[in-house]
């Protein structure tokens, strides 16, 4: 833990130092050259190439490019630093042309998704641990099926044993769909317990009409529902931990293409001007 804190402090320190350096040196650049937009633009583009390369470095692990963990730290903090460069590059001005507007929006999407990614990658594992019942994401369908089979068996068992179909009917009407797949995705993301509480309330209402044997089965069924709810929680958070990359990475490639076109246009239409 100490090592983690020290490492984070080191990177944050580097980021702050780089930001202060660039912001304080920028007026000097601006005084020495009127081509600050070119300077910041090339610096920004170079860093964006490196950041984009992070996705490729992971795919060629046999190359001695250092630990992925180090590259991830580099990716995060250099990515944040590009925000400073971007502001200096555009001069704090919102673009008025379509092309540059799209370029800015692409950058902002990549930046925002990256910041979101950092936020959830750092914070949500703690939520998952606190909730308990951690399972590998790929194993979730198997476990869900096991829970469903157990729940169905329990519901059916009441028919011959208690000679009543109340629990089985309730299962079909209210619980069967819940076990059918991942449910309450958004509720789990935002820690909203309303759907689960509603189901629990229905169980409580049902128990007023059950005999002792059925009540036992209902309690066991409720326990399975609670497990399934936990599994859905794991699914929602773990899936989101993967899905943010569906925005971050594809838009990054789009951004890079747009940036290359931007460079060609700038050189073509400024023709040596600043």
């Amino acid at each position: 833990m100490k090592g983690f804190v020290r490492r984070r402090l080191l990177w944050v320190g580097l980021l702050v130092a780089a930001t202060i350096s660039v912001v304080s040196v920028f007026p000097v650049w601006a005084g020495a050259t009127t081509r600050t937009a070119y300077l910041t633009g090339w610096l920004l583009f170079g860093l964006m190439v490196l950041l984009t390369g992070y996705n490729w470095f992971k795919k060629i692990p046999y190359l001695p490019l250092g630990r992925s963990e180090l590259w991830l730290q580099f990716h995060i903090y250099v990515g944040l630093f590009t925000g400073v460069l971007f502001l200096l590059h555009v001069g704090g001005r919102w673009p008025t042309g379509w092309f540059e507007l799209v370029l800015t929006i692409l950058y902002l999407i990549v930046m925002a998704s990256g910041v979101l990614g950092i936020f959830i990658s750092r914070g949500w594992p703690k939520r998952l641990t606190a909730r308990g019942g951690e399972v590998p994401f790929e194993r979730i369908p198997v476990i869900r099926r096991e829970l469903r089979e157990r729940a169905e068996a329990l519901a059916l068992s009441t028919v011959p044993e208690a000679k009543s179909a109340t629990v089985a009917e309730f299962y079909l009407r209210r619980v069967h769909d819940f076990f059918g797949g991942p449910r309450n995705f958004l509720s789990h993301l935002f820690e909203i317990r309303l759907p689960f509480n509603a189901l629990q309330s229905d169980f409580t209402d049902l128990k007023r009409f059950l005999n002792e044997r059925e009540k036992q089965v209902a309690d066991q069924l409720m326990a399975l529902v609670r497990q399934k709810d936990g599994l859905d929680y794991q699914h929602a958070l773990q899936l989101t931990l993967r899905l943010w990359l569906f925005i971050h990475i594809p838009i990054t490639y789009s951004l890079m293409l747009w940036a290359i076109a931007h460079i060609v246009l700038v050189y073509g239409f400024s023709a040596g001007a600043r």
Partner: protein, 563 residues
């Protein structure tokens, strides 16, 4: 990384491999087959095991044995079929792509869509709108431009400024890579000369001929586009940044070169052109010219020349600001103050010119005869004054008629009486003319004939010399009155907008209340400005706040040429 490797007893066959492109179609049902799809995404499901034939010694046919792994339930109860096939076939599935594979395909799709969008944008009919960096400024968006832009290449007239707009994408790329330094030479940008004229600037001067409308001793043309940044929005172009000015004025070697060049130019080359309707205070050009190296207005910007060279107002008109601001009451009963005379013009930037008729006459009427204050010689030309004085009987007769004496005898009597009074006082016409032109003391001269208890809100008229420099030497024996030169612009190299400073009282900047001499120039010193126009003061203090690079100078070349 090593900590994350599976332990030796980890069942590698059950290890999930999310990095594979395909996964079993039954995965979502929670029962993926153990074989899994092929790398190409084909279902490979056949049966749960591949039975093996076991033959004991002496047996001919042998016996098929189920080989289903223990973790998948172990050998099945029924065992293989007699023909050696597994009795538990696995239903085939439609393998589905893994999340990782879907993400990769999404990357490809979005990249392809982006490329397609770029190509459509570059080759489509809207390409000029598509690549435009934004609307041009109001300076380049007038009626004249609207009429001309269709004559230039590029749908929106882009070709007027951009060479690349003369062609399609190939031309853009060719121009981009033909630029020096080009996109493959990014290392050349941080240093080097930065304000030299470029291809883009050459397009500017094609319409704005005569680029050198700064000081004549500039050593090289400064790039137009370095200061004037287009496509920043439909309003006015943003003001040039200080860095552009300081690239020369903050550079010792450039200023040294300018100084040397200026020394070789005739002084007349630096004469400022007067703006129509404005009277500028002419200051002599300093020996060093304006080549002092400085970095900012608040710190080391030179003091205003008026103060650094202790220049004085050379106006011949005698005027005492302090006296006029000492609580004098005007004819309308209001106390005289700055705004009584200094009235803003329509734009509010400057003040209307001070004229006798508008600003002085109310108090300083030319009442040479205290008995007849309505009778006043004209202000202005001495010859007209002389003509007036030589026609005094006629003037008195006219005054009499205006006063209601219509009968000829009454008029003549009035004229005779007035002329007699005048003669008693000044003896003859020559004395009267001398007193009117040359008298300067109101207590002893023309107004002395007024009654002892005579009081008036007007200043008593002494003579022209009370305010003007009057001397002999005029034509036809007339006195020569030095022409009045009252500048309305004192700091001619900078702009000033009085209306913007209306929040500040006049006396905060101008020491008019203590100025008794005409020669006092009561323009504030730089320090008065830097109290607000500085980083500490918090008000704009950049060069363009006051200065324009295109200082009016010499034949003004800032005109539009139709190409």
């Amino acid at each position: 990384m090593k900590d994350q490797l599976p332990s030796p007893d980890f069942d590698r066959s059950r290890y999930e491999r999310p990095n594979q492109d395909w996964e079993c179609g039954w995965t979502c049902d929670g029962c993926p087959c153990r074989i899994g799809p092929s790398p190409a995404g084909k279902c490979r499901a056949t049966a749960e095991c591949r039975p093996v034939l076991e033959k004991k010694e002496g047996e001919e046919k042998g016996r098929w044995r189920c080989t289903r792994p223990k973790e998948h339930g172990g050998p099945c109860a029924d065992g293989p079929r007699p023909d050696g096939n597994c009795a538990c076939p696995i239903p085939t599935c439609q393998p589905r792509r893994s999340l990782r594979n879907q993400r990769g395909r999404l990357c490809l799709a979005i990249t392809a869509a982006t490329a397609a969008l770029l190509l459509i944008g570059f080759f489509g009919p809207w390409r000029w709108h598509f690549i435009s960096a934004g609307p041009v400024s109001s300076h380049h968006h007038g009626v004249a431009f609207s009429q001309l832009r269709h004559s230039w290449p590029g749908e929106e007239g882009c070709g007027a400024c951009h060479s690349a707009a003369h062609g399609d994408v190939r031309e853009w790329v060719r121009t981009a890579f033909g630029t020096r330094p080009g996109p493959l030479q990014p290392h050349r940008f941080p240093g080097g000369a930065t304000s030299e004229m470029t291809e883009l600037d050459r397009h500017c001067v094609a319409c704005h001929p005569g680029h050198a409308f700064h000081q004549p001793n500039v050593t090289r043309d400064h790039s137009c586009s370095a200061c004037h940044r287009e496509h920043q929005g439909p309003g006015r172009m943003p003001a040039p940044r200080d860095t552009e000015c300081l690239s020369c004025h903050g550079n010792g070697s450039v200023m040294e070169a300018s100084l040397k060049k200026g020394e070789q130019l005739p002084p007349a080359a630096f004469n400022y052109r007067h703006t129509s309707g404005r009277v500028f205070y002419q200051v002599p050009r300093p020996e060093q010219g304006y080549t002092k190296v400085f970095k900012s207005f608040a710190e080391d910007h030179p003091e205003f020349q008026l103060h650094s060279q202790r220049l004085t107002d050379t106006n011949s008109l005698r005027f005492n600001h302090a006296l006029h601001l000492s609580g004098l009451v005007q004819k309308n009963g209001q106390t005289l103050e700055c705004a009584s005379c200094h009235q803003p013009d329509a734009a509010g930037a400057h003040f209307q010119a001070i004229t006798y008729a508008k600003h002085c006459q109310g108090c300083h009427a030319l009442q040479f005869d205290a008995r007849n204050p309505q009778l006043r010689p004209p202000h202005g030309d001495p010859a007209t004054v002389r003509a007036f004085l030589r026609s005094l009987p006629t003037q008195y007769a006219d005054l009499a008629r205006r006063s209601g004496l219509t009968a000829q005898p009454d008029t003549e009597k009035f004229v005779t009486e007035q002329m007699r009074h005048l003669r008693d006082r000044v003896m003859n016409g020559e004395n009267l003319e001398q007193q009117i032109f040359f008298a300067a003391d109101p207590s002893k001269q023309l107004a002395a004939g007024a009654a002892p208890n005579h009081t008036t809100e007007r200043a008593r008229f002494a003579g022209c010399a009370y305010c003007h420099e009057v001397g002999p030497g005029g034509v036809d024996g007339l006195p020569r009155i030095a022409p009045v030169f009252t500048p309305d612009r004192w700091l001619i190299r900078g702009e000033f907008h009085h209306a913007k400073h209306a929040i500040v009282a006049c006396k905060e900047c101008h020491t008019a209340a203590t100025s008794r001499q005409t020669s006092d120039i009561i323009i504030p010193a730089k320090q008065s400005c830097t109290e607000c126009h500085s980083p500490a003061g918090g008000v704009a203090h950049n060069c363009a706040t006051c200065h324009s690079y295109h200082t009016v100078h010499g034949p003004h070349a800032h005109q539009h040429a139709v190409r």
